[in-house]
């Protein structure tokens, strides 16, 4: 073979490889575009259908048989109350578990079981949590189809998210911080409470927000516990005029939440209700996007600010 021919062959091979490289680059951009365009299509379709329905009345009216009079008052109030229960139960439990696994847990069989379990829980489909809540909270503990039962069901669902976020935030704190604290005679809990938790707070907060954003949009577990879909009243107010000013009746009240209201409207045959569904979906998407956006922003700031 002549040297010229050889050189040509090599050049051809290089050109071919570079062509493949280019083709893949294009494929990557196209794939990313598919995801972006889908999101744009989804958002604009809802915007076109739902925007005309969005008005002050939409937020202050109860659901109704007349699509043009129906609103999401009971839904957003219900969502708010359920989220309060979820946050109050999942956050302390999740942070506690995360702190234990990172700071206290001895390396033994039980710890390993717990760790594997957290991973497995994260992989359990959300509807299974609904079945657990149906059997355990609704019937076994006779909480009924209440805000408390729904809030606890969602708390179980986001517990792994909070635990994992806590652990990651704690793990990024260098060991020197702990050693410094111990050297000054602090106990383990003092170290955790005064140093580890404050320094990991932004990271934990990010995880909590992402978890709650997920819980807001969850529909399946709430349907499973048999939450009613037509609620034209509000739960009793948590604040009272007279002593002791707080009431917990609302915990046991029947309720509806945003995704349930939307599901109810989507499954109606009349087209007017689809517009309501679009409007409710729009509110829901804006809510979850805002929460996720906040979490992403917090993480971004954290990464910039903290240099150990």
């Amino acid at each position: 073979m002549q040297p010229d021919k050889q050189l040509e062959d090599i050049r051809a091979i290089i050109a071919r490889h570079k062509r493949w490289d280019m083709m893949f680059l294009v494929a990557g951009v196209i794939s990313l575009m598919i995801a972006v365009l889908t999101f744009i299509a989804l958002f604009s379709h809802m915007l076109i259908d739902g925007m005309p329905r969005l008005s002050w009345e939409f937020f202050t009216s109860y659901p109704s048989r007349h699509p043009e009079a129906a609103g999401i008052l009971s839904a957003w109030v219900g969502t708010t109350l359920v989220m309060i229960v979820t946050a109050l139960s999942a956050v302390p439990l999740g942070i506690g578990a995360g702190v234990y696994l990172e700071e206290y847990a001895p390396k033994n069989f039980l710890t390993e079981i717990i760790e594997i379990n957290v991973t497995n829980l994260a992989g359990v489909p959300s509807i299974i949590y609904g079945l657990l809540a149906l059997g355990l909270f609704v019937y076994q503990l006779s909480l009924g189809q209440s805000i408390l039962a729904a809030g606890l069901a969602l708390a179980l669902l986001i517990l792994p998210v909070v635990i994992v976020a806590t652990r990651e935030a704690i793990r990024s704190i260098p060991v020197t911080i702990r050693e410094g604290s111990y050297a000054l005679g602090a106990t383990k809990w003092q170290t955790v409470y005064d140093h580890i938790l404050p320094y990991s707070a932004p990271g934990i907060l990010t995880g909590v927000i992402i978890g709650l954003a997920r819980a807001i949009g969850e529909t399946a577990p709430i349907i499973t516990i048999g939450a009613l879909t037509f609620i034209a009243f509000l739960p009793p107010s948590p604040v009272k005029e007279e002593f002791p000013f707080l009431s917990f009746e609302w915990l046991m009240a029947p309720f509806t939440v945003m995704p349930i209201q939307m599901f109810n409207w989507v499954s109606r045959p009349e087209e007017e209700f689809q517009f309501n569904a679009a409007a409710a979906g729009l509110v829901l998407v804006v809510m979850t996007l805002a929460m996720n956006g906040l979490a992403i922003y917090l993480r971004y700031r954290m990464r910039k600010k903290i240099k150990w």
């Binding site: 490289d21 990557g28 999101f39 234990y100 717990i114 359990v124 299974i128 529909t219 829901l284």
Partner: protein
């Protein structure tokens, strides 16, 4: 330690303080341990609850019938309890979703990890994360009212409820999970492996396919497994867009119910606690849990077996 030195102490006051402090510490440790133990208790509660109700169910219906009967009509007078139609719906919708999500998710991950300039990555990653945060009910709405009409333009005979559009939308929905985990796995591969490959004259594509992906195999497998269990357990998209009629079919263009959609359908109605209809959703749930658990275990084994440590 504090307890032991207490006997020989000359300063009882100080050591009483130290003893109190020790007890305080132990108490808090116990509390935190209980919190951690909760995750195990939840798992146990799930298994016990599902097995308990399913056990009653399987006293009515033999496991053989459950696995081989080709009809699922537990709420009819002439009741049949064959899980196959629900499993077929689940398998078909998941297959459609995964043929979208796995290739696209992988390509996006390779692009973001190996090709994309810094600026593109900084914008695309949060965007994908937002996409993963959109509630599933919204995707269901989108599948029913946007994707199905769009598909009907090309295939006029496509019914209003079908597994195809549910599966496609579910696939798009799963892309962020697959791509972000795959990308994380690929980014964890040390730079000197890539540099070695480039030094041998390999292109970026060759490096990505031949060097980085094999090195990140265990992480990528975990991402795929997570995608699969998402698809199998996804509820609202299929409940809204695929119809809720159990239908033993392998054709994505037909309407069918998945295991999850059946549970939703039953929960929407008013079934008395303790009836056989009530127990069927626990049996269906147990089936679902076993399927996802099997995938989780496979993922765990793959991770352990092919883990590369640098």
């Amino acid at each position: 330690m504090a307890v032991k030195s207490r006997k020989e102490s000359k300063h009882p006051g100080r050591l009483a303080f130290s003893f109190r402090r020790h007890m305080h510490e132990r108490f808090i440790e116990m509390l935190l341990f209980m919190a951690a133990l909760c995750s195990v208790l939840i798992m146990l509660a799930i298994v016990i609850m599902l097995v308990k109700e399913s056990y009653v169910f399987f006293q009515h219906v033999s496991i053989w019938d459950f696995l081989t009967d080709t009809e699922w009509t537990p709420l009819f007078d002439n009741a049949h309890y064959g899980i196959l139609p629900l499993v077929s719906g689940t398998v078909v919708s998941s297959m459609v979703a995964l043929t979208v999500a796995l290739p696209l998710g992988t390509i996006i991950a390779i692009y973001l990890s190996e090709f994309a300039p810094f600026a593109v990555r900084e914008i695309a990653k949060p965007f994908l994360e937002l996409l993963g945060g959109v509630p599933t009910i919204v995707y269901g709405y989108f599948a029913l009212l946007f994707v199905t009409p769009l598909l009907q333009v090309f295939f006029p005979e496509l019914p209003g409820f079908n597994l195809l559009s549910a599966g496609l939308v579910m696939g798009i929905m799963i892309i962020p999970y697959v791509s972000s985990m795959t990308e994380d796995a690929m980014r964890a591969v040390p730079m000197n492996l890539r540099e070695g490959s480039y030094a041998m004259g390999a292109t970026r594509f060759q490096t990505a396919i031949r060097v980085v992906m094999p090195a990140a195999f265990s992480g990528i497998a975990a991402a795929y497994i997570l995608g699969i269990s998402r698809a199998v357990g996804e509820t609202m998209v299929v409940a809204i867009a695929a119809g809720m009629q159990p239908n033993l079919t392998w054709n994505p263009a037909e309407p069918a119910a998945t295991i999850t959609a059946y549970i939703v359908q039953v929960s929407l109605g008013d079934l008395p606690h303790g009836s056989i209809g009530y127990q069927t959703i626990f049996a269906a749930g147990l089936t679902l849990l076993l399927i996802t658990l099997a995938f989780n275990i496979i993922g765990h084994i793959l991770r352990k077996r092919y883990r590369e440590i640098y």
